[in-house]
C-alpha cells in the first residue's frame, strides 16, 4: 500500500489543492478570480494564462475548480487536438449541463495551447476560436510562449494574464515542506543547487528533488551535483533581444538565437521593431538596419535558389551583425530597454482583410474596364479615391453602378465613409421603391398600357425593369 503511494510522482502528490498553495502569483490570482466570479458577465469569455513552465498556471485552475466545486474538463498537449476533439469537449460541456441541471458546473481547461502542432492538429485553433465564441462554460487556456505566431488569433478572444517565474525562496520553502513530509534529511546547499538549476520552475525542482532524494533518505549536494547537469533554458523574445544587443562577442550573439523561443523568421521582425529602441545613435541604427537588410536579403536568396547553406550567413548578420553595430554609442548595448511586440504582426490580420477587399475591388474594376487587376490598382483605384473623398453623392452612385460592397466603399472613402454610405442607402431605398412600384404597374397597369400602346414607352419600361432586376440579384 505504502509502496503504491510512493510510486506517484511527487509533482502530482504535492500539487497545490487550495488557492493558498499557489504561491507568488498574487496579481495573476486576483485577476483570474475576479474574472471567474463575474463570468459570464466578462468582456472575454476565455483566459489565457502564460508564463514559464512550473509557475502554477495549471495548478491555479485546478485549485479553483477544487475550492468552488467545479468539474474540470481538461485537454492537454498529449491529447489529440484535432478539430473534432475540441468540438467534442465543447458539446460535452454545454449539453450535459443543460440536460441534467443538477450536474456539477464545469470549467474547460485547454493546457499548453502553444503546443498545438499546426499541421497535425489541423483546424484545432479554429475550433478553439469557435468554442470561445459560443461557450456557456468558462474556458481557461495556458501557454508558455504568448508570442507564438499560432496564438495570434486568440489575442482578441482571450484575456492574457501573465504568471511570473517563482522566486528562489518560494521554491526552497516548497522543497523543505516536501522533504519533511517525505522524512528526508536535507542539505540546504543541495536545495539551493536544485533551485538554482530550476530557474523558477517548481515542477523541475520537485522532479529533481525526487530524483536526488527518493530512496536515499537524504538530499546531499554531492549527489545533486552528480545526478543533475545544468539545464538548457529557452529565452523568451525579450531575453533574446537583450542577449543579442548586449553581446560583446560574436559567438554570444549567435548563441542567443540558438537558445531562443524565436526562430530566425520571427527574430527579424523583433529586430526590425526594436533596433531603434535599443540604439539611439543614428549611425548605429543605420548600421544595424543595414545588417538586418542583408540578413533578410539572404533569406530571400534562399527561397529563390533553394540553397539552405546560405542560412548561416543570414543568421550571422542578424545576430552578430546587430551586436557589433553600436560603434558610436557602445553604451547603448547595455541600456535597459522596454521592447515592443512587432507591430507588423498585430497589423497583419488587419492588413489581410484590407488586402482581400482591395483584390476584390480590383477584380470588379478589371472586368468592368477590360484592364488587368494591377492596372486597376495603380491607375483606377487612386482616381476613385479622389471621387469618394470629395464627392460622396456621386461616389455613392458609382458604388451602385459598379456594385461595390460596404467594405470597398470604406476602403475608397476612408474618413468620408459615413457620408458616402448615407447617400448610398438613400439611393438604394429609392431604387427599391422604384422596383416595387414598377412591379405593381406591370401587373395592375396592363390595361392602361395597351391604350397608349406606342413602342417608345414600352422600350423604356423594359430597360428599366431589366436594370432594377439586375440590381437586385
Amino acid at each position: 500500500m505504502s509502496q503504491e503511494r510512493d510510486r506517484i510522482p511527487w509533482v502530482i502528490k504535492y500539487r497545490p489543492k487550495k488557492l493558498d498553495d499557489v504561491v507568488n502569483q498574487e496579481e495573476a490570482k486576483e485577476k483570474v478570480l475576479e474574472w471567474f466570479k463575474k463570468w459570464p458577465n466578462v468582456q472575454k469569455k476565455a483566459l489565457l494564462l502564460y508564463g514559464p513552465p512550473g509557475c502554477g498556471k495549471t495548478s491555479l485552475v485546478e485549485a479553483i475548480a477544487n475550492e468552488f466545486g467545479y468539474e474540470l474538463l481538461e485537454m492537454n498537449a498529449s491529447d489529440f487536438r484535432r478539430k473534432e476533439d475540441i468540438e467534442r469537449i465543447a458539446v460535452r460541456s454545454s449539453t450535459i449541463q443543460s440536460l441534467f441541471g443538477s450536474e456539477k458546473k464545469k470549467i474547460i481547461l485547454l493546457d499548453e495551447v502553444d503546443g498545438i502542432a499546426t499541421k497535425e492538429d489541423a483546424g484545432a485553433l479554429d475550433a478553439i476560436k469557435h468554442l470561445v465564441e459560443v461557450t456557456k462554460t468558462p474556458i481557461i487556456m495556458t501557454a508558455n510562449n504568448p508570442w507564438d505566431q499560432k496564438l495570434r488569433p486568440l489575442r482578441e478572444l482571450a484575456e492574457f494574464i501573465q504568471f511570473r517565474k517563482l522566486e528562489k525562496r518560494d521554491l526552497i520553502k516548497l522543497l523543505l515542506r516536501i522533504c519533511s513530509a517525505e522524512k528526508l534529511k536535507c542539505d540546504e546547499k543541495a536545495l539551493e543547487y536544485i533551485v538554482e538549476r530550476a530557474e523558477g520552475d517548481a515542477r523541475a525542482a520537485i522532479n529533481d528533488l525526487q530524483a536526488v532524494g527518493e530512496g536515499f533518505g537524504e538530499v546531499s549536494l554531492e549527489r545533486a551535483k552528480a545526478l543533475l547537469r545544468p539545464r538548457d533554458k529557452e529565452r523568451d523574445p525579450f531575453e533574446t533581444l537583450r542577449a543579442i544587443f548586449s553581446a560583446s562577442y560574436a559567438w554570444q550573439a549567435k548563441n542567443a538565437l540558438n537558445q531562443s523561443q524565436l526562430d530566425y523568421e520571427q527574430l527579424r521582425l523583433w529586430l526590425e521593431e526594436n533596433i531603434p529602441l535599443q540604439y539611439t545613435n543614428l549611425g548605429d541604427v543605420a548600421r544595424a538596419y543595414e545588417f538586418l537588410s542583408k540578413a533578410d536579403t539572404y533569406l530571400g536568396r534562399i527561397v529563390r535558389s533553394g540553397d539552405w547553406d546560405l542560412l548561416t550567413y543570414s543568421i550571422d548578420l542578424m545576430t552578430a551583425g546587430i551586436a557589433v553595430a553600436a560603434k558610436n554609442n557602445p553604451k547603448d548595448k547595455f541600456r535597459w530597454t522596454k521592447y515592443n511586440f512587432p507591430q507588423r504582426i498585430s497589423l497583419m490580420s488587419k492588413l489581410k482583410e484590407v488586402r482581400e477587399v482591395r483584390e476584390d475591388l480590383a477584380k470588379i474594376i478589371s472586368q468592368n474596364l477590360h484592364i488587368s487587376t494591377s492596372a486597376a490598382k495603380s491607375d483606377v483605384i487612386p482616381i476613385l479615391r479622389v471621387i469618394f473623398l470629395t464627392n460622396p453623392d456621386y461616389a455613392a452612385r458609382i458604388a451602385i453602378g459598379l456594385g461595390l460592397s460596404e467594405k470597398m466603399i470604406e476602403l475608397l472613402a476612408g474618413s468620408n465613409k459615413t457620408n458616402v454610405m448615407s447617400y448610398y442607402k438613400k439611393y438604394k431605398e429609392i431604387m427599391e421603391k422604384e422596383a416595387k412600384r414598377e412591379l405593381g404597374s406591370v401587373t395592375h397597369g396592363e390595361g392602361d398600357k395597351h391604350k397608349k400602346s406606342k413602342p417608345k414607352p414600352e422600350d423604356k419600361k423594359e430597360k428599366r425593369d431589366l436594370l432594377s432586376f439586375s440590381k437586385k440579384s
Binding site: 543614428l282 543595414e290 530571400g300 497589423l347 482591395r358 487587376t373 470629395t390 439611393y427 431604387m431
Partner: protein, 323 residues
Amino acid sequence: MSAKIAEMLWVEKYRPKSLKEMVNQEEIVTRLMKFVEEKNMPHLLFAGPPGTGKTTAALALAHDLYGEDWRRYVLELNASDERGITVIRSKVKEFARSKITGEVPFKIVILDEADNMTADAQQALRRIMEMYVETTRFILIANYASKIIDPIQSRCASFRFVQLKKEDVVSRLKWICGQENVVCHDDGLEAIYEISGGDLRKAINILQAAAALGEVTVANVYKVVGLAHPKEIREILNLALSGRFIEARDKLRELMVIYGLSGVDVLKQMHRELFSADLKIPEDLRVMIADYIGEIHFRIVEGADDEIQLTALLARLSLLGKK
C-alpha cells in the same frame, strides 16, 4: 430613375461599342470593318501605347461580328492576371471545345498585355494558336510588338496603333463633357492631356474625377492628380531626412496598409520625389540616395522583405540627412 442613379465609369460608359463609332485610328478601323464584312479574320496583333484604342477596337470588332450577344463568343484573358500558360491553355481549350452555329465559324480569344508573357510562355501560346485555329481566332494586344516573338508575329496580321493627337484627345474629352453636362475649360482639358501623355483611358479617368469636384478647371485637374498620388511619400522622405526615423517608419507602415502599396511601388514614388524641385537637399545627396534606393530595389527583387528593406532605407536616409 434608377438608370440615372447608377453611375458608370466614363471609360466604359463612353467606350465606342461598334467600329463605326470609333473616331481614331481610321485606317485600322477601315481594315477591321472589312473583316466584319467578310465574316472572317486571321489572328490579329494590336500593338501600341496605352490608351490608344486597342482593347476598344478588339471589343468593337467582336460586337460587329456577332451582334449584341457578342460576349458569348469572346473569351477575354489578361496575360498579367492569368498566371501561367497552363491556365490559358485550359481556359482556351474549354472555350474552343463547343462549336458555334452562327454565320461566323469561329470564336475570338482576346489576350491583353500579351507582351508580359515570357518567351517560353509565348512558344506555348503559339502552339495553342495553331491547335485551335479552326474554331478560334486570337487577338493579341501588346504595348510593344518587339516583345512578341517572331513566330507569333508571323502568324498574325499586325496593326500598329499610333499615339493620339492632342486635338483628338481634347475633342473627345469635350464631347464627353457635353454628354454629361459638365462645364469644362480648354486649359483644363489641355492639362489633362499633358498629364495623361496621350493615354485616353487615363485622361477620361482624370476627367471624371475632376468633374466630380465641379468644373473641369486647371486647378481641379491638378487637385485630382495631387490627391491621387499619396503625398505621404514626400512626408516620409522629409521626416527621414530630418533624422526623425521612427516617425518616418510609422508613417511608412500606415501608408503600406492604407494604400496597399508594394515595396517597389513605394521605391518608385520615392525616386520620383527625389528629383523634384520641392525636395530641398544638396545635389550630391540626391545621387547618393538614388544609388541606395536602387540597391534596396534590387534586394527586394532578390526576394527580400518589403518592410524590412524600406525600414533599412529610411534608417540610411535619416543618417544621410543629418550629415
